[in-house]
């Protein structure tokens, strides 16, 4: 809609400067981290002078150069961070797939059901989501240990999917409501079953909502700490608990920089991913045009 419209200079200017300020706010801490990941801990987390992280005073003393890759070396090679990255990949892919499969089916049904129980189901899902995750996780521990479910990736995946289900339901429910009923109902008049109507009519137009929901499921699985730190054994650890073990309650020198370096290096693949999905969301534009 935007490219076709012209607007006055002042509005344009206002919008642009707002966006620029926001982008600086959003990106600055990350860019600062990116820069700092090539310094030693004494510089990046300097208590003496923040400018040390710009000039790398201690970095030069300790390593001889203004930049050092020690953080990256330590994280990826010495501490085998790639194992955690691989585990995260498995968890994320599974959580997103299962979450979306269950979620789209249920979300669609909820948006099409005229009965009260659909509302009550949504309401309960909401109450479920209000539960503090801390208490849920501490409740899982005992049965999981007892039934020998603790520590496995699959257990964590299912728990993450379940905890994320209320959110997925609500979000997809909101998106499906935006898709006019006439679409699938006319397909059903033409003789499709409910499921066929869903498959042939709704699935092709649902992508913007599904991709966005998928993005959130992904980020949840990717960033989760409460569940993964408690339910995974050492060898199955995903990235965030692994990062946390670099930080530790008793920080070992240099290890904090492992965490910083790891954070920076795992953001790069996300950049690629978001560029990709951005196209998917925009491709929804055409799908959305079908409507009305």
């Amino acid at each position: 809609m935007s490219t076709a419209t012209r607007r006055p200079m002042t509005v344009q200017l206002l919008a642009t400067s707002f966006l620029v300020i926001w982008l600086i706010l959003a990106a600055f801490p990350f860019l600062w981290t990116l820069w700092g990941s090539f310094k030693v801990e004494g510089d990046f987390f300097s208590k003496a002078d923040w400018a040390n992280s710009l000039y790398g005073t201690l970095t030069r003393i300790e390593t001889g150069g203004s930049f050092t890759g020690d953080g990256y070396y330590g994280a990826w090679i010495q501490e085998e961070f790639w194992r955690a990255a691989f585990n995260t990949l498995i968890v994320c892919v599974c959580v997103v797939t299962i979450s979306l499969t269950c979620g789209t089916l249920a979300g669609y049904a909820l948006s099409r059901s005229p009965y009260r129980y659909a509302f009550w189901l949504l309401l309960f899902a909401l109450i479920f989501r209000a539960t503090p995750p801390l208490i849920l996780v501490s409740g899982y521990l005992l049965p999981f240990f007892e039934w020998n479910l603790w520590g496995h990736l699959s257990t964590t995946i299912i728990v993450l999917v379940a905890i994320n289900q209320p959110f997925t339901l609500w979000m997809l429910h909101a998106f499906f409501k935006n898709i006019p009923k006439d679409l699938d109902e006319s397909a059903m008049v033409d003789g499709c079953t409910r499921f066929q109507a869903f498959r042939h009519v709704i699935i092709p137009v649902m992508w913007p909502g599904v991709i966005t929901t998928g993005l959130f499921s992904f980020l949840l699985a990717y960033n989760d700490f409460a569940v993964t730190s408690m339910l995974l054994s050492k060898e199955n650890q995903t990235m965030v608990p692994k990062l946390n073990s670099f930080l530790g309650t008793t920080q070992t020198k240099g290890n904090v920089m492992f965490a910083v370096a790891a954070v920076v290096s795992i953001t790069a693949p996300l950049f690629v991913m978001i560029m990709f999905f951005q196209r998917q969301i925009v491709s929804g534009l055409t799908a959305g045009a079908v409507k009305g």
Binding site: A26, G36, A106, P114, I135, L136, S138, Y140, V263
Partner: protein, 340 residues
């Protein structure tokens, strides 16, 4: 939709939620109604590398007998809810009787852990939720009007606050706002006060937490709105333009109503998440300045002796308060359902 097909569509999702959320909630509610048995305490002699001392210990055999008789613990009714560390019914009543003024009563009330936590939690929720929605909306509108080739990177950078693991993100921010960090120094320079320290002052810490809360959840509102904007009907927009609607009017009368259901959704999720505020307080080590119900649960579960019933009671209270908080939004959704 027919009942039978509805059931099949929602089944997988419902089974997961019942198993992993509903059942644990039931056990949490049960837990909050029971307390530990009376512990039989005996005085024993403990020895170790630093010599021997007299100390108390739990008499395992005697206590075990009680535990076997009633494995759930001692039924306590609502006594855990009413004790000083939760709703503090007696303490509040006593304070009401004893206080000469509302001000004095308020002071006593805020000194009770539950009410102190509520004060911060509600302020936080009331400020962060609308800020997130409004700013997220404008970011979405702004990003949507960027030239298409630049959109990918713009979206990526706008999502960064949400992508970078809060664990490390907050650690770095915590260092940046330190009185000697880059942001802390910048603030001192702006305020022209070299002794200014965000971490030392309660009001500044509150502002910091709310700023961080808004900053880290804007991407959520932004991306939902952005996805919603992609489905705005271009015909309607063009028709509005032909009718001479200004840009602002188009936003007001076409885009905002189209995004209304999404706003309901964002508001629900944000209200809930903000009410359970936890991570920022831990990351900024702000327990001395701000406490929330989730922090109370965290301390109950994290101590050397875990207070399970207390944590369970606080959790139930959290759920109840979230439900009350969401009431307006829920009533709205209910009406929408009725008109269907």
């Amino acid at each position: 939709m027919k009942h039978s097909s509805f059931i099949w569509f929602v089944l997988p999702s419902v089974v997961l939620m019942i198993l992993f959320i509903a059942l644990p909630i039931v056990s949490v509610v049960m837990q909050s109604l029971y307390t530990e048995h009376e512990q039989v305490i005996v005085t024993v002699e403990n020895c170790g590398p630093f010599g021997c001392v007299e100390a108390q210990s739990v008499d395992q055999e005697a206590t075990q007998a009680l535990r076997d008789a009633q494995p759930l613990g001692k039924f306590a009714g609502t006594s855990v809810y009413r004790d000083r560390n939760h709703l503090a019914v007696d303490e509040v009543a006593a304070a009401w009787e004893a206080s000469g003024s509302y001000r004095e009563f308020w002071g006593t009330l805020m000194n009770l852990p539950f009410y102190g936590a509520m004060a911060f939690t509600l302020t936080y929720t009331a400020i962060v939720t609308p800020m997130t929605i409004i700013l997220g909306f404008f970011v979405a509108i702004a990003v949507n009007s960027v030239a298409r080739s630049l959109r990918g990177p713009t979206i990526f950078f706008s999502l960064l606050p949400m992508i970078v693991t809060p664990l490390v993100g907050a650690l770095i921010l915590f260092w940046m706002v330190d009185a000697r960090g880059i942001l802390g120094t910048a603030l001192q320079w702006l305020a022209n006060d070299p002794s200014l320290s965000v971490k030392a002052s309660t009001p500044l810490m509150w502002i910091m937490l709310m700023f961080y809360g808004t900053w880290s959840s804007i991407p959520f509102a932004f991306i939902v709105y952005y996805a919603g904007l992609q489905t705005v009907n271009t015909d309607t927009l063009e028709a509005a333009m032909i009718d001479g609607a200004s840009r602002w009017e188009r936003i007001r009368y076409v885009i905002v109503p189209h995004l209304a259901p999404l706003t309901t959704f964002i508001a629900l999720i944000q209200l809930m998440d903000n009410f359970r505020v936890f991570e920022p307080i831990i990351s900024f080590q702000a327990q001395a300045h701000a406490r929330s119900l989730s922090i109370a649960i965290f301390t109950d579960l994290g101590g050397e002796t875990r207070l399970l019933s207390s944590a369970a009671a606080t959790s139930v209270l959290t759920i109840v308060f979230v439900a009350i908080l969401l009431m307006p939004v829920l009533v709205r959704t209910w009406r929408e359902f009725d008109t269907k």
